[in-house]
């Protein structure tokens, strides 16, 4: 759809999910400033920026498309992950156990799922 961006965002989200899973297994809670939290925090910020870019580019491409697209659903999947990531971060930071990174794991796994649906709708078979 938008060149390689959805693929790159999928890879980043899965890498963060893997990092969060490692923290869950190692029983490491989130703590701002600690090395493991920074290691997933920085890519999380990049992911959110990339998702916003994808949403904007997606909107522009959609309005210029010369074929039938399920526009409302498409817009939903463009902005769904933009909303989910920061909400997951806020919800995760309030937790003082391994389930904090667990929340990030769930949030980051929902992103590739939504991007997959997004690209399916863009390709026209969904």
């Amino acid at each position: 759809m938008i060149a390689v961006l959805p693929t790159v965002l999928t890879v980043i989200a899965l890498l963060i999910a893997a990092g969060a899973l490692a923290m869950v297994i190692a029983d490491r809670p989130l703590a701002l400033g600690s090395t493991p939290t920074t290691a997933i925090g920085v890519p999380l910020v990049l992911l959110e920026i990339g998702l916003v870019v994808q949403a904007v580019v997606g909107l522009v491409r959609m309005s210029g498309a010369d074929r039938e697209i399920d526009e409302l659903t498409f817009v939903g999947y463009l902005f769904g992950p933009v909303v989910v990531v920061p909400v997951a971060v806020v919800w995760a930071l309030a937790e003082r156990t391994r389930f904090g990174p667990g929340v990030l794991l769930v949030g980051c796994l929902s992103v590739p799922a939504m991007i997959l649906r997004l690209t399916q709708i863009w390709a026209g078979h969904a």
């Binding site: 409302l72 769904g80 909303v83 919800w91 937790e95 389930f99 904090g100 929902s110």
Partner: protein, 139 residues
């Protein structure tokens, strides 16, 4: 004795509960968005499944909010929501397989939630178990 009540509310949204609420939140968002699109753009195509989608969305939102609040009344609301959800996914799942014509378009609960990795089938069970565990810690 307001303090133990607050502790239980805190306990409901902590640990595994926080993770559970996160998953519920994602499903509340997914079901609400899906239902809004269905009803807003093509309601007349399949009124019954679309109304069911809307009902599922309400149940997910209710369960998410109730679990996040976590006080005594909220836990009862969450308990009922999870129970309704379990019955819903079992009934709709069965009907969608036995009478596929009844569901020309998919709902969250079609095929026992196979479009969502069967998470809709597992989620209410985990919700019920979690509420029971929090409640039993009160005694």
């Amino acid at each position: 004795m307001p303090e133990p009540t607050t502790d239980l509310a805190e306990a409901t949204r902590s640990g595994p509960g926080r993770l559970l609420i996160a998953v519920y939140g994602i499903f509340a968002l997914a079901a609400t968005a899906r239902s809004a699109v269905q009803i807003g753009t093509r309601f007349s195509d399949a009124p019954l499944p679309y109304l069911l989608s809307a009902f599922a969305a309400v149940v997910y939102v209710l369960a998410t909010v109730a679990l996040a609040r976590g006080d005594g009344t909220s836990r009862r609301v969450a308990l009922v929501s999870c129970a309704v959800e379990l019955v819903g996914v079992l009934v709709v799942g069965t009907v969608s397989l036995v009478v596929p014509d009844a569901f020309p378009d998919a709902t969250v609960w079609s095929g026992f939630g196979q479009g969502y990795g069967f998470i809709p089938l597992v989620l209410p069970v985990l919700g019920l178990l979690w509420i029971r565990r929090v409640n039993s810690s009160a005694r």
